[in-house]
């Protein structure tokens, strides 16, 4: 029997609806736990579409209104029991529902795994085998890159901290168990229990962090655009607090893309400062302009800067036309150097858009930008790269499982279980964390034992 897998199966960035697919022995049981419709899920006929709600039983709240279709094996894509949930929401809602499914016992699908199952269960033609292999390999590269990217950040630091503590604890237990009669300080159940308390708290902290969306390293991809010398580099410097972009009064000084990772109210943001987009003959600058256009295509949010002092010209209008269909905020900079009439005129050019008045020189409006970004993120109107979000759900799930195991271990101690039983849960917890970091528990434990304890004949 194969385990049950789930994944968001709509491509990233498609608005409107999203689809989550579940496949495997348990998919009907899992869905029946989270779905409330006019007809009980168990009684729904195969290959019909049914309206209902997805419920978070713990929080007693409705997550989304959905359409659910049930496909009994073998007449399904994977030839297993399959459920598809069509939801309204953007990525945030999808992520929430996926989280509920995982909680009920499914596991996040590996890249290409639905197709793999379809093939292994004889659903897909032999000629497609190579395509399946390609899919597995290509997706894995992207997926693991996202995971690595993510692990370089805060999550990784915290996670490493907890994992180290766990490995230390396991090593101490194992050395106690495998090397009795050695003059090492034998660990007691009570000491294990005490050591588990901070570990449990740290894991809980990380889980809370996930809920706030704080840990997604890539975060929002924000691109600053505007004609030369409107203050883009100054804004970047202001937001990052560093002087990385070269700031001068000569137009076109920023010849390449400058990227900064910053944290706005706890939301990680990748900020991209572009070269001013303008027609230019300078070949070096031309490259910069090309890159800027690419960055715009991949942005979650565009910050367009204008200059109140010099007003709006054709170049501004051209840039605006390039980005107006995106999620944008318009900044009117240098309001300290312009009359209020001039400022109102500019505001009128951008009616219906999100406009913030700014003076970098006097420090006016920065807070408002930050609030605006936070806002966009929280209401979920900005979509994030789904690959990262999926990894994100997987990570959170692993950490929750680890947390649960630690609780089990503590309960086992309270119930008078001996050390070897308590250890089972502690090891499981370490295994779950190891699945995020890709490290092997047993080898790390052995290493730790030999490093810390003096044992031998």
């Amino acid at each position: 029997m194969e385990d049950t897998i789930a994944a968001i199966s709509t491509p990233p960035g498609t608005g409107g609806i999203g689809i989550i697919r579940i496949s495997g022995e348990d998919s009907f049981r899992i869905t029946s736990k989270i779905f409330r419709g006019a007809v009980d899920f168990d009684k729904i006929k195969s290959h019909t579409i049914n309206y209902g709600k997805i419920i978070d039983a713990d929080k007693k709240e409705t997550v989304d209104e959905v359409l659910v279709s049930k496909m009994k094996k073998p007449a399904s894509f994977t030839r297993e029991d399959v459920v598809e949930i069509n939801c309204h929401g953007g990525i945030i809602i999808l992520k929430k529902i996926l989280g509920l499914i995982i909680k009920e016992g499914a596991r996040i699908a590996e890249p290409g795994e639905f197709t793999k199952r379809a093939f292994l269960n004889g659903r897909i033609d032999l000629s497609q085998a190579e395509a399946v292999i390609d899919l597995i390999n290509s997706k894995t590269d992207v997926g693991s890159k996202a995971a690595i990217d993510q692990l370089e950040g805060k999550l990784s630091k915290k996670l490493k901290g907890v994992r180290e503590k766990l490995i230390e604890l396991i090593a101490h237990i194992e050395v106690t168990v495998d090397y009795p009669e050695h003059d090492i300080e034998e660990i007691t159940g009570n000491k294990v229990y005490e050591d588990l308390i901070p570990i449990k708290e740290m894991l809980f902290d990380i889980i809370i962090g996930f809920d706030k969306g704080r840990i997604i390293r890539e975060g929002l991809n924000i691109v600053i655009v505007g004609r030369p010398n409107v203050g883009k580099s100054s804004l970047l410097n202001e937001l990052t607090g560093k002087s990385k972009a070269i700031v001068t009064d000569i137009p076109g000084t920023t010849r390449d893309i400058i990227e900064e990772y910053i944290n706005i109210n706890g939301i990680p943001v990748k900020l991209v400062d572009t070269a001013g987009i303008r027609d230019t003959e300078d070949p070096v600058e031309k490259i910069g302009v090309e890159r800027a256009k690419k960055a715009i295509d991949g942005a979650d949010l565009i910050i367009m800067m204008t200059d109140a002092a010099s007003g709006i010209n054709d170049e501004d209008i051209n840039i605006f036309n390039d980005v107006r269909n995106k999620n944008i905020i318009v900044l009117i900079n240098k309001i300290d150097a312009a009359s209020s009439e001039k400022i109102i005129n500019i505001e009128n050019c951008f009616k219906g858009f999100n406009v913030i008045k700014l003076s970098l020189k006097d420090g006016i409006g920065i807070g408002q930008i930050e609030d605006e970004i936070t806002n966009l993120f929280n209401i979920g109107s900005v979509a994030l790269n789904d690959e990262i979000l999926v990894t994100n759900v997987r990570h959170k799930n692993m950490i929750e499982l680890a947390h649960k195991r630690i609780e089990n271990a503590m309960a086992a101690y309270e119930n008078g279980m001996p050390l070897d039983m308590i250890t089972i849960d502690i090891k499981d917890a370490a295994e779950y964390l190891g699945q995020i970091t890709g490290e092997s528990v047993s080898e790390d434990v052995l290493h730790e034992i030999f490093k810390r304890f003096c044992i031998g004949k």
């Binding site: 390999n137 001996p418 030999f450 004949k457």
Partner: protein, 636 residues
């Protein structure tokens, strides 16, 4: 002068702990077998500590016994002190350990070999492995040659050379060619192995000094006596009552550490004279003093070597320092001020093989009929050696009898973990068994080794009908008693609640299953006798029943994990697959897979350098093959 000396089905090279098990298993399975040793007085010698068992090692001995091996029985006949370690830490890690009379152990084992039908014991050094290459270019074993020129033709060989291959002894600045315990090394066989294309490593291990009991002042040491209740190693032995002998505990002093530090420059480990890789878990005393500089003292156990000798073993003092330093060092221990050293501590370097060249049957993948077991495979310890010897001997015999080979997986026993680790991952240092190496520790207990493995031993043919019948009776009794306890309802009588209160357990208001009461941590099976009547059962049965019920939640969880694990183990991989030609695999994975030629998808997934994505690709590839074949079959 060479001469033809005869034919054997199986030849075992070396009669240490691996060799003895291999030879006995092969002969008992009906193969005409010969075992060779450089010196027949060294059969089943213990050149290091005079004890058998301990954590995980004790588990191995119980498993050897459950399969029909000899080590447990031989220990039961010759031990002088018995102990269950970890008795407070839970049933998964209870471990049996016995101090053994080293000489009697040897004599007893030699005698067992001598009495064994189908088995010849011969004193000779094997210097050459003879082989043939067939028309397909694959190698096949054909015989062995001794140093005196005798050629024995055979179909299979089990190499159990221990630490003898090109062995070199190092004592400080003195080093010489020599085997363990003053025996001769085997200097020629390594070259023969290399010619066969076998990759060799160089490992190192060591042993402490032996001292004369007469020169020890025990009043300065603390006594370590055995357990009151002796648990035999063998499942066939019900009870043993002997007078036990004590060990003694002393410790290194500030003076010891000073002597060591002042003479470190004379240690071959630090001067670089020893190049072999030594085990991390078995450091020399100088290693401990250097690496754990803040530790003021290390404990040293003084263990008797036997009843008819004054020699004692200094556990904890393994060293390769020069003899004069050793004398000073040992004399600095409380109680050893006037010690008389009988044998010096030494380090020994030896050739071993890269075990990833072996199959899970312990046969060389590319040399038909050649098996290897024990320290030559990179392991350390008598028990690890014996376990491998048993597996190799069984498989050599099963192959000759054209029967299915024996492969224990990681969920069936520590033996399975041991072989899988060695063969799949290889080892960079002498490999010691530890309970933490097992994923399913709670299932692989020493108390249930017979339940796990005796049916397998019976199927192979190493367990007699009579023993198997007794085993089945025991198994049925356990089953019946578990069922009885799970079904029986205890009523909330005054007597019951008085008992519960006495045991600090919550009184019951309505009828409760006896099993649920047993699951309460404060209650145990023995105590429950007060509130229920039952038939008298033997200790092993009671132990089994109690553990099965008390920990059934955990046991069920591990059983579920085993089920997952087995799914991948069952997907077998053909040895003929050319992994280099599978395009979707990463290059590293192709090479590793082609080198190891795993038995199953499960084993493939444990190879270092094979990723989950590679496993997916492999699954697709297998399905592709299967469908290709189906199409071809249809066409024909």
């Amino acid at each position: 002068m060479e001469y033809e000396a005869g034919y054997y089905d199986v030849v075992v090279v070396g009669a240490g702990h691996a060799g003895c098990e291999a030879a006995l298993a092969s002969a008992r399975l009906g193969c005409k077998t010969a075992v060779f040793a450089i010196n027949l007085d060294s059969i089943a010698n213990m050149p290091c500590n005079p004890s058998i068992g301990g954590t995980a090692k004790g588990h191995l001995v119980r498993e050897i016994d459950a399969l029909g091996g000899e080590m447990g029985k031989n220990t039961d006949k010759t031990f002088i002190q018995s102990k269950v370690l970890n008795s407070a830490k839970g049933p998964a890690v209870f471990s049996l350990r016995a101090q053994v009379d080293r000489r009697r152990y040897q004599i007893e084992m030699k005698h067992t070999l001598e009495k064994q039908e189908n088995l010849d014991i011969k004193q000779a050094e094997i210097i050459d492995i003879l082989s043939e290459t067939d028309e397909n270019g694959s190698k096949k074993i054909s015989g062995v040659k001794t140093h005196t020129g005798a050629i024995y033709r055979c179909r299979s060989i089990v190499l159990t050379t221990g630490t003898y291959l090109k062995a070199r002894i190092v004592i400080g600045d003195v080093s010489y060619s020599g085997g363990p315990d003053g025996l001769f090394p085997a200097n020629k066989l390594s070259d023969s192995l290399k010619e066969l294309g076998i990759e060799l490593f160089r490992f190192k291990t060591g042993t402490p000094a032996r001292i004369n009991r007469r020169s020890v002042d025990f009043s300065k040491m603390s006594e370590q006596s055995g357990d009151d209740r002796i648990v035999p190693f063998s499942f066939e032995v019900e009870e043993i009552n002997i007078e036990q002998v004590s060990c003694w505990l002393t410790h290194t002093s500030e003076e010891t550490h000073k002597i060591i530090k002042e003479n470190l420059h004379r240690s071959p480990l630090y001067s670089g004279d020893i190049k072999g890789v030594g085990p991390r878990y078995c450091p020399s005393i100088e290693d401990k003093v250097v690496r754990f500089a803040d530790k003021e003292s290390h404990q040293v156990f003084v263990e008797p070597m036997g009843l008819e000798t004054q020699e004692m073993y200094l556990q904890g003092m393994s060293s390769s320092l020069p003899e004069d330093v050793q004398i000073k060092m040992v004399k600095s221990l409380p109680g050893l001020e006037n010690v008389s050293i009988m044998r010096s501590a030494y380090a020994i370097e030896y050739d071993c093989i890269n075990a990833t060249q072996l199959d899970l049957t312990l046969e060389f993948r590319d040399i038909n009929g050649l098996y290897s077991a024990g320290q030559i495979n990179g392991s350390s310890g008598y028990e690890e050696a014996a376990a491998q010897g048993l597996v190799a001997g069984i498989n050599a015999a099963l192959k000759i009898k054209e029967k299915e080979s024996l492969i224990l997986d990681r969920s069936e026993g520590y033996i399975g973990v041991l072989v899988d680790d060695l063969v799949t991952k290889g080892t960079k240092e002498p490999y010691r068994m530890m309970t933490s190496r097992s994923e399913y520790r709670l299932l692989l207990r020493q108390d249930n080794a017979d339940l796990r493995l005796t049916p397998i031993g019976y199927r192979i043919g190493l367990i007699s009908e009579e023993r198997y019948k007794r085993f089945e009776e025991k198994r049925d009794k356990i089953q019946r008693e578990i069922e009885r306890i799970e079904k029986k309802v205890i009523s909330p009588t005054e007597k019951v609640n008085a008992f519960l209160e006495k045991m600090n357990s919550t009184p019951i208001k309505s009828g409760v299953k006896l099993g649920d009461l047993l699951r309460r941590p404060e209650l145990n099976y023995e105590a429950l006798l007060e509130i229920e009547e039952r038939e008298e059962l033997s200790f092993p049965i009671k132990e089994q029943v109690e553990i099965s019920i008390k920990y059934d939640g955990y046991i069920k969880r591990q059983l579920m994990q085993v089920e997952q694990f087995k799914r991948l183990e069952k997907r077998k991989l053909d040895k003929e697959i050319n992994y280099l030609g599978i395009d979707g695999l990463r290059i590293e994975a192709r090479q590793k897979l082609n080198q190891i030629k795993p038995d199953s998808i499960g084993q493939a997934s444990r190879i270092t350098g094979v990723s989950p994505a590679d496993i997916s690709v492999l699954l697709i590839y297998l399905e592709q093959l299967k469908r290709d074949k189906r199409i071809k079959d249809k066409d024909e």
